[in-house]
Symmetry: C4
Subunit: 275 residues, 4 copies
């Protein structure tokens, strides 16, 4: 722990060895560990899922419970190994993945104290989030830095777009509540109308609430058409972000210090001096 | 009011102060005002929504009514502050946002005169449109001038595309009315068939009206496939618009006669001479 | 008619005058005619639609019938004006739009001879296709030659893509017929399964036929995911077509006569001789 | 069979003749064979489909059975012709298409031994996969090497994307099982909740399971919105892959040292010297 480096790097001792196997995927052992962990996660989530199926739980409840405890003990051991192998256990414990790791094991122990709560099933299914660690998504998306940058850049615009769509849905929902409210059992309130409007605009279309008056149908047709054509906005947002050439501003003019030059530009477009 | 400038600009007096806080988001007060306004809008729309839920309204009707009056008085004060702080109150009053601001407060007062009309609920929910003002969408989309231009350019084509889709739906709807009409309770008329066709083509698929004859199913399968593949048209429209480079090529360098300069570039990026 | 030019061009006489008004939209009269025609088409299709609504037809049947005859007579006059104003009436009569114009008026006259057939309603609704003539879609899409070319180029690929999707749906449908057939009333045959598979893959999801066995649900989840991700194929097809720079092959090497050179290439990339 | 070449190439004898007709589409006979084969495949799959329709099978069972045997014998002959005409029959027999060809004929013969099994119907419908052979998809997609490469490149990312979507659906499904489980008959278990979440996120929306509690509806609205906006990820993935220029820049001209040459270019397009 008396290391003077911030980045974890191979050093002497068993701690480093464990760290390499558990956190990295460069060595053969590391890869084997990753695969075993992935299999355990998937199997343990399957256990959770099957436990929730009444017919299966009544027949195989004991076996599933046993398996659950097996996985929990396994994950607990892994959790402590992680804790002791990292240089800064506290930082790990409160990192996103550290918390997920903790949530993955806690519910089973808690169910010992507080018995029979189905909310533990859901908490336990959160351990699936650990799969993201094994996936090491950046391994697959890492090289696609252009895509990552584009998605990152588009983040705010997509949120604003969804917010605008949501506002449209609230007003449409209120309108349909006004139009259909009296004759239709489905539009009992504005929130119910908003729910319907979102189901319609996103083209999900459950069919649990449908307009029955001619005016209601006309408005819903309009919402569907809007949902069908609004697709161009997110598509356009991501395309725009992708089309922006690689960050051009890395180079800034030595004399006027303005950026935004094209790749390959030889002269500053703002002041005319050589770049 | 005897200003000789068209654009509102900071001047002496409390009016300018109010204007800055209410209309702009540059100062700290302006930003605080924006956030408070946004919260008020959201809360007031939630009030309207909850009022429409029978079970909530019967229990908390009084509280909701009080809150409603609170928000209305707040918005009324804000409306008058806006009126007196702008240089041209009339132009504000009849601008889009001015009218929305007016519609946001009117229904509550009207409900005093004309009691118990649910259409006021809907009118009141229109105050959500005010959120767009606070969002200042251009703040997020402003820099994406390429996207804005592309969406603007594509406007007409998307409308024509939707119109063409609509024509296809009318003819499909008429066809299914012919095919299914007699054996299916859902296809009672051509408009009903058109409604079904739009629900199908946009892939909403409520399921309130479904084909039951083999021929009807075959046609609807065809419509679904069309809806599934027609997506390339709006996607293509926006992509084409986005791919049209910024209108840059009009200007070419007077000394080296090369083009491709960005908008607003003052110097040739190839040879450095003044454009 | 003794014209020696193939392309219609302004000449002396009333025929040319009529042709200009009816077929072109350059003159003021031509535009007025287009608008009136569009209004007539829309109103006449609305007449047809309303006639199919029982409650409206029983009350306003007489008025709708009158309106129908009015529109038919109008369109008949227009049809004959078109016939006598074009240089080659026969070619017009058998052109796509000529046939549509004919189909627009025929059913009403036929309903005189063969009474009370709802299929005439559908035939009459085909007159909506005439709207495409007025729309002169090329007016809006014409300038977007890149898009038009891309859509044209992608035509075959989209058909093949849809065919491949269709094959997937047939096999999925057969599979679900095998899996669900016995326990589910909805999967009575393979064609029924195929219908369901298409409804599912295109994300329409009527809900008239749904899987009920766990295996059936697992397979349908797989189909949905496929439909959700297959969208990249049509998107990719159109994007590829759009991204292909303007037809580069116009220039072919003078010595080896091979094409496919980039814009601005000075030397043939195949044989090295000057282009 | 004592050929010393790996690639099949035209040689003397009837075998080569058959090979050319059956496997290639260059000659007139080859094209005629392809069309006849396609027609046979489509008709035989239609036979299989119609056989599964009870009302048709009871009336035309004999005829369909006869047709089935006709097609099976035809395909058997074709199979043996393929076997004897290729240079390496074993490699053909165990190739993908060889196995599909075998599966296309086997079930009919097996139904002779093991009577009345509907699973044979499904196996027989697999012969539709043979259509892909006739389609020779590469004929249509071959030239679009950019698209093919992009789809190939995106393969892994799409799988990871779908996996991430799947994880979201499992957690959402577990959540809704927790929220709706007690009051809603549709959410009987976590797997059922996951099924619902996928139906919702992909915007299929059968409507066989719908949320009924306000919290459940709020969560499902969130899932729909996510599904609606997540579309930008696959779109972005394919766009990114398409935008990566052909891997051209590795090779630069030895004399002028400029790059950007197309794959397969033999001469520098800038200076004309040999690459």
């Amino acid at each position: 722990m008396s290391s003077n480096a911030n980045t974890p790097r191979p050093a002497e001792g068993w701690r480093e060895k464990i760290h390499e196997v558990i956190f990295e995927a460069d060595t053969r052992q590391g890869r084997v560990f990753d695969i075993l962990l992935m299999v355990s996660i998937v199997l343990s989530v399957m256990t959770v899922s099957l436990e929730s199926v009444d017919s299966i739980n009544s027949n195989y409840g004991r076996e599933l419970n046993l398996a659950e405890w097996g996985f929990t003990i396994l994950f607990t051991i892994e959790y402590f190994l992680r804790l002791i192998s990292v240089k800064k256990p506290q930082r790990y414990a409160f990192s996103t993945f550290g918390l997920i790791d903790f949530i993955s094991i806690m519910p089973t122990y808690l169910s010992f104290v507080i018995p029979n709560s189905s909310s533990f099933l859901v908490l336990r299914s959160l351990r699936l989030l650990r799969a993201f660690r094994v996936l090491k998504l950046t391994r697959y998306f890492g090289e696609a830095s252009a895509l990552k940058r584009a998605l990152h850049q588009s983040r705010m615009r997509i949120v604003v777009f969804l917010f605008a769509v949501f506002i449209i849905c609230i007003i449409s929902g209120a309108l349909l509540y006004l139009v259909e409210g009296e004759s239709n059992d489905g539009f009992t309130s504005i929130p119910q109308g908003v729910y319907w409007a979102i189901v319609t605009l996103t083209s999900t279309g459950y069919g649990d609430t449908v307009p029955i008056t001619p005016i209601g149908k006309a408005i819903s047709v309009f919402i569907m058409m809007m949902g069908y054509s609004l697709i161009i906005v997110p598509t356009g947002i991501i395309s725009t972000a992708l089309m922006q050439p690689e960050p051009i501003s890395t180079q800034s003019c030595p004399s006027c210090s303005l950026g935004g030059h094209d790749y390959g530009a030889k002269f500053c477009k703002h002041c005319g001096s050589l770049l």
